[in-house]
């Protein structure tokens, strides 16, 4: 099982490494979103500081959607999905492997965006542990949901645009929780950031369970 998961994840990362889409294309895009906001509120550093948590997650959502799209584009290209279906790898492993691949790429994206908000929005980090926990939970939830909805939307020509439509409402709670937890970690909100952080882990766990249980037939196209 673990072996299969790693196999899939490594393949995705290798494709990514060969085409360098994440770091080359998606990360600048995310940075653009941050820069634009910095422009939009240039007069008011206080506002930026307040909104930094939310902006970070909006940028992750934006870039992450592109990543998921690409992860499935690679599979639908040249009929690869059929080969995927014909392989002996069990569906839950496929699901976890794809999620792991996405997870690592989103982490890379966050490693670019994180310093971005620190520099551009002038935030101070009060609670490193919470920050890391929230980032981990949010990224997990995002990857798992993304792969689950990605496979649902895959196999159709319109997948590129149906995916965000399905993904965004499901991810809204993740976005909210991530923002709140980050704001607590930045010391701009007194609320219980840990509750929000744990919420994300719960979301991730639920979707992981659903995904592992249903990926087998979600993979079938016709």
């Amino acid at each position: 099982m673990l072996h299969e998961v790693l196999l899939i994840a490594l393949k995705d990362l290798r494709v990514e490494w060969r085409s360098k889409v994440t770091l080359g294309q998606v990360a600048p895009m995310g940075l653009l979103v941050l820069v634009v906001f910095a422009f939009a509120f240039d007069a008011n550093t206080r506002l930026l500081e307040l909104g930094a948590g939310g902006l970070f997650w909006v940028a992750v959502l934006f870039g992450g959607t592109l990543l998921i799209q690409r992860a499935f584009e690679v599979e639908t290209d040249d009929g690869n999905f059929d080969a995927f279906r014909m392989s002996t790898i069990r569906a839950p492993s496929l699901f976890l492997g794809k999620s792991l691949g996405i997870f690592i790429q989103v982490v890379l994206l966050e490693l670019v965006l994180g310093p971005g908000i620190v520099l551009l929005y002038n935030v101070r980090i009060d609670d490193w542990l919470l920050l890391l926990a929230a980032a981990l939970g949010g990224t997990l939830a995002f990857s798992v949901c993304g792969v689950l909805w990605g496979v649902m939307a895959a196999g159709t020509r319109v997948r590129a645009t149906l995916l965000p439509l399905l993904l965004v409402p499901i991810l809204a709670p993740v976005l909210l929780a991530g923002s709140r937890a980050f704001e607590t970690a930045f010391g701009v909100r007194a609320e219980a950031g840990w509750t929000w952080a744990s919420l994300m882990f719960v979301i991730a766990a639920v979707h992981a369970a659903v995904g592992m249980g249903t990926f087998g037939f979600l993979l079938e196209e016709s």
Binding site: M152, L162, L165, A172, V210, L218, E221, S222
Partner: protein, 250 residues
């Protein structure tokens, strides 16, 4: 193609016709009660009449989405067996979701109009309002997923999974007023608590709920029927196509 083919799940029957008549009558009575009989509110004035559409609509939408989820669960269970693959449940899920989306839309529209009158704006970033719009869009996505071309069983399972995940939004909307500090009304009717509104308003609201339920049931029954008829039409067309393929080898 005759609807009277005696299929177990065809729905044209005297009972549904009666239901239709009752639905029309109930809606008329609801308008009468809501617009004329019930009094204006002390605080809100005439605008309170929006209540009789606003609140029952979302409750019906909740109900419809729960129906979607339950049918989807049944479909997932039944579709494992080859015979009686549970298509019936899939159709019901689709019909209920469509009607639910319509009623959630009605709540949104009436709520926005109401907000314009009482809060002075169409929209507030209030947890209840935001979660409601997310609920609405989630089910729009569900309907979009249902429309993707795919084998009916595959599509049914796919959308069933989505319906089961999406249902989580219903309690979120309902409890949003308790979980977040909101501008929006807290629950005024709930089991085991004294209602906060009184008299004619209370009864009118209850009655409206009944009326909207009847209308919604009628709609669901007929959407179901249309979906079934569409399937029969497709089957018929398919049979004709198969026949014409057989004729290819003249």
């Amino acid at each position: 193609m005759s609807p009277a083919r005696g299929n177990k799940y065809m729905t044209a029957s005297p009972a549904t016709r009666v239901l239709g008549v009752v639905a029309v009558a109930a809606a008329l009575l609801m308008a009468l009660l809501g617009l004329i009989v019930s009094p204006a509110d002390v605080v809100q004035g005439q605008a309170v009449r929006m209540l009789y559409l606003h609140v029952p609509s979302i409750w019906i939408a909740y109900g419809a989405f729960v129906l979607t989820a339950v049918s989807s669960a049944l479909f997932l269970i039944r579709s494992r067996r080859r015979e009686d693959s549970g298509r019936h449940h899939d159709r019901l899920a689709g019909a209920a979701a469509e009607v639910g989306v319509v009623f959630a839309g009605i709540t949104l529209v009436t709520g926005m109009l109401w907000g314009r009158v009482t809060w002075g704006t169409y929209w507030q970033w209030d947890a209840r309002l935001t979660t409601t719009v997310l609920l609405f869009v989630t089910y729009l996505g569900y309907l979009a997923l249902r429309r993707l071309p795919a084998d009916p069983m595959i599509r049914g399972r796919r959308s069933a999974v989505m319906a089961l995940i999406s249902i989580i939004n219903v309690p979120i909307v309902h409890f949003s007023v308790d979980w977040w500090r909101t501008l929006h009304q807290k629950a005024s009717l709930s089991v085991g608590r004294r209602p906060e509104i009184t008299g004619e308003m209370y009864w009118t609201l209850l009655y409206s709920t009944l009326a909207v339920t009847i209308v919604a049931s009628w709609l669901i029954v007929h959407r179901y029927r249309v979906i079934r008829l569409e399937e029969l039409r497709d089957e018929e067309a398919l049979n004709a196509l198969i026949a014409s393929r057989l004729r290819e080898d003249e």
